[in-house]
Amino acid sequence: MVMRDSVIRYLIAAIGVIAVLHGSAIAGEVIRCSGTGTSIGGMTSLAAEFEKKHPGTRIHLFPSMGSTGGIRATKDGKLDVGFSARPLKDVEKAPGLIEEPYAETAVVFGTRLSNPAEGFRLSEIEEIYNARRTTWADGSPIRLALRPHSDSYTDFLKHIESGMKTAVEASYNVPGVFIGTTDRDAARYIERTPGAFGVTTYAVVTSEKRKIKMLAVDGVTPTMESISSGKYPYRITLYLVYRKESYTGRTKEFVDFVFSREAQQILLKNGFFPLKRSRQRMG
């Protein structure tokens, strides 16, 4: 027995060593991720869960660098997984570069929680952007928070309708207007600045627990229901971007994990509307 125990012990030890050796190779892996700030909040929760399941593996979430930065860095091999709030542009596509939509969320117009306003018609939002409407109903000033020209949300807003495109372009000429470079910067401005009005996402507000009031548009307030039912129409798709050659090991596991039921539950709680995994999209 002793012999058998010792054999078992040795076996276990060997397995342990192998496991450790194997595990160390995996356990020491760092998965580098970053990209659009919209994804960061949800991914932080997913990373924690994943690390819990795979001790020794660390998900290194770099500060948000936007969809473009995330795609480029992934393409350059600086990131293992990039987050994008838009599909790849033609110039960004490259052999072996894969993008996968993993969730949707809604683009929302927000203000401070303390603001009594509940919502606007889309036409009123146009007026705010082209500076024809500069005050709230109570007469206090509207402080517009913009996103950079090249930002995905700016692009999204411009495509809502032609009137919005003109208004958004005009908004950059408003003197003293705030431009939040990242989702986080914009969200922070909106929740802190009296009278602030700006665009963010349902996911950011929810996942980061931002003190932001999401305003109704044309009478529809963005909620889980209204968004998932399609009543609230301003939804965007979020993508994972990775290289085919890095789709191995823990990285593969992490990507796959994002599409797991467990992860989708977490995402849903964080304001994301997970998408079922379809075929892989190769760049």
Binding site: F62, K78, S150, D151, T182
Partner: protein
């Protein structure tokens, strides 16, 4: 002045050229400096601004680097947002973020148009140089602006050039034109002034000489330039005994040996406000003036002698009238067989000679009364020819060359005859051993010499009558005194010394003049010039009419001199006239009023105490127009006529006269159709 002129014109050119260069330089500097300055400051400001902006961008990027040092270069949105930030003045620069290897991380959408400037600022991460940001800004606007500034600078420069060239050069031209005008005026004055001018430098060498100066010193300007003054301008004092400035009256001896009497002034030339050592010597030829002064002195002398002679002649004439009158009466009474006849005849002859002498005295002193008439000198000479041949004698050949179509002259025929006679006698006397005596007449103009020697002569056509001999000629000394009264070269008793002075007096009084040409051993020619008259007939020389000297008319005789009154009355009474005698004008007027109806003729002396002859004649003629008047006088002073020439139509008999002369004159007056002008003649 040539030198002055040349240097003056050169100066205008030089100064104009310097000003043109200066103007062009100023214009060029403005044309270049304005755009250059604009470019320098604009590009400097742009570089500075670009650098500051880029530094600012680099610092912003460093903030991103600090927040995300590992993956900062993938924060495209943020980086792009930084690099597209507009500049302070709202424009957009091209900005590129480059990694250490020069690879582009982010490139702003803006592309700077060329030409451009760049600024590269390093980006650090905790002191490590990790990347750079390159800012590029187009300076096309600055280049365009510089071009505009170049255009503006060119315009301003051109304008400055025009203004600079216009005003100073215009002023300069005006000044130089004034200078040249002044110089031309000076040159014209210098050339034409009637005084000689010599300019000398501080070494007393000649620097200029004007044409009159050339004439007087006999040197041409080109020859005299640079010569010492004393070599060219040779002065000697006119009178060595005189002290003072030798230039006051000096004799200038010309290069040819001619001598001029000159007066001289010297003046130093001002050099700025100081006197320079240069001098101007101005000298005037006063030779002619001296000659005129000499002539004036001569004529004053003659005037004095004339006054004396005239005064004496007046009394003499009265006396001679009596002497010759009574001699003639006596001769008539005695008959040629009377033993006293010869003696009385001698008395009469002596009276005649004395009368002639008196006439000559009056003639040379130009105090005798002339009765000028239009004359043909050829006729006068022809009529005298026989008489003259007798006077000349057989040793001398007598020739006359009478000019054809000889113009008329106006002179007293008797006086002209006397002039010719005097000249012929003198010519004869100059040829004691025989020779040729020529009388020549011709129409002539006055030569320059005559006009110069006789300032009173008028440049009109003249008739010349010359008397030439081939005698011994005259020395300069004789010539100098020839026309003086009582000057004679003849032996004592042979001449009165009044001959030529009489000629001179008569001709001058007739508006003419006399010229003498004489060379020792060759002969002498004396020419008399009388102005021609036009449109009047030459007078036929009066023949002595054979008239009846008796008359029955009533004569009123006014004469203050008793002896004259008596002889005149006696002569008239003897020939049948009835005579009322008055010793002065007042008595004459009273007698006339008493016998107004019967009086046919008034014979009156001109000068009487109280009422003179002229006034008497005027008054009686006023009472009886048409009354004949005969004036008589022994002295023709201004009481007759201020010019000594009897007015036409006035009847006059010169004392002394012979009884026959008086009687002929009385008949002539009584038988004349009428008298005019006598009233006016007495208006003085």
């Amino acid at each position: 002045m040539t030198a002055f002129s040349r240097s003056g014109e050169a100066s205008v050119h030089d100064v104009s050229r310097v000003l043109t260069l200066l103007g062009a330089t100023i214009a060029l500097v403005m044309a270049v400096s304005i755009p250059s300055t604009y470019y320098y400051f604009s590009i400097g400001a742009a570089r500075q601004s670009l650098r500051l902006e880029t530094v600012h961008i680099a610092r912003d990027i460093e903030n991103i680097v600090v927040a995300n040092p590992e993956m900062w270069e993938y924060e495209y949105v943020r980086l792009a947002d930084i690099v597209v930030q507009p500049t302070f003045d709202g424009t957009l620069d091209e900005r590129i973020i480059l990694d250490r290897k020069g690879k582009v991380i982010v490139h702003s959408m803006e592309r700077a148009a060329s030409p451009s400037i760049t600024a590269t600022i390093p980006i650090f991460d905790s002191g490590r140089h990790i990347a750079s940001v390159l800012g590029r800004r187009s300076v096309r606007k600055i280049v365009l602006g510089t071009s505009l500034m170049a255009l503006l600078g060119g315009l301003i420069g051109g304008l400055a050039y025009v203004i600079f060239m216009y005003y100073p050069i215009r002023m300069l031209n005006k000044v130089f034109n004034d200078l040249i005008r002044a110089k031309n005026k000076f040159e014209a004055t210098f050339r034409t002034i009637g005084e000689g001018i010599i300019a000398i430098d501080s070494n007393r060498r000649i620097t200029n000489l004007n044409p009159e100066g050339e004439r007087l010193v006999g040197w041409k300007l080109d020859e005299a330039l640079g010569k010492p003054l004393e070599d060219v301008y040779c002065l000697s004092r006119e009178d060595e005994s005189l002290e003072g400035n030798p230039g006051d009256h000096a004799i200038l001896r010309s290069r040819d040996g001619d001598e001029y009497c000159i007066v001289e002034n010297q003046s130093q030339i001002l050099d700025g406000e100081r006197l320079s050592a240069e001098k101007l010597i101005v000298f005037a030829d006063i030779t002619a003036r001296r000659k005129m002064e000499e002539q004036l002195r001569q004529s004053q002398k003659m005037e004095a002698v004339g006054r004396l002679a005239g005064g004496i002649a007046h009394d003499f004439n009265n006396l001679l009238t009596v002497i010759t009158g009574y001699s003639e009466l006596l001769l008539g009474q005695l008959g040629e067989r009377s033993p006293q006849y010869k003696e009385v005849e001698e008395i009469k002859r002596a009276g005649d000679r004395a009368r002639s002498l008196t006439q000559q005295l009056l003639a040379f002193s130009r105090k005798q009364l002339l009765q000028p008439q239009v004359l043909d000198l050829n006729k006068v000479v022809s009529l005298m020819e026989n008489m003259l041949r007798r006077v000349i004698g057989e040793d001398v050949e007598f020739r006359t060359i009478l000019g054809t179509d000889l113009e008329r002259v106006k002179a007293d025929p008797g006086q002209v005859e006397q002039v010719i006679a005097n000249l012929v006698v003198n010519a004869r006397d100059a040829m004691p051993d025989g020779g040729v005596l020529t009388i020549e007449t011709a129409n002539v103009g006055l030569g320059e010499e005559s006009l110069r020697d006789h300032p009173s002569a008028v440049d009109v056509p003249h008739v010349c009558l010359s008397v030439s001999d081939t005698g011994m000629g005259m020395s300069a000394d004789v010539k100098a005194h020839l026309f003086e009264p009582f000057f004679t070269t003849k032996e004592k008793g042979k001449g009165t010394g009044l001959g030529l002075s009489t000629v001179h007096g008569i001709i001058n009084q007739s508006g003419g003049h006399v010229r003498l040409d004489s060379k020792v051993g060759v002969g002498t020619t004396i020419r008399i010039y009388l102005p021609q008259v036009e449109g009047e007939e030459a007078m036929k020389l009066p023949d002595v009419p054979d008239v009846d000297l008796y008359g029955r008319e009533t004569v009123l005789l006014a004469e203050d001199e008793d002896i004259v009154r008596k002889i005149v009355a006696r002569v008239l009474v003897e020939k049948g006239y009835q005579v009322f005698l008055a010793s002065d004008g007042s008595e004459g007027l009273r007698l006339f009023e008493e016998h107004k109806e019967s009086v046919d003729l008034l014979i009156t002396d001109v000068v009487m105490p109280g009422m003179g002859g002229r006034e008497l004649a005027t008054r009686v003629k006023a009472a009886k127009p048409g009354l004949k008047v005969l004036y008589m006088s022994g002295y023709t002073d201004e009481a007759i006529n201020p010019h000594g020439v009897l007015e036409e139509g006035l009847s006059f008999i010169q004392k002394p006269f012979a009884p026959d002369e008086l009687l002929r004159k009385v008949r002539e007056v009584l038988e004349k159709a009428g008298q005019v002008g006598d009233g006016e003649a007495g208006s003085r």
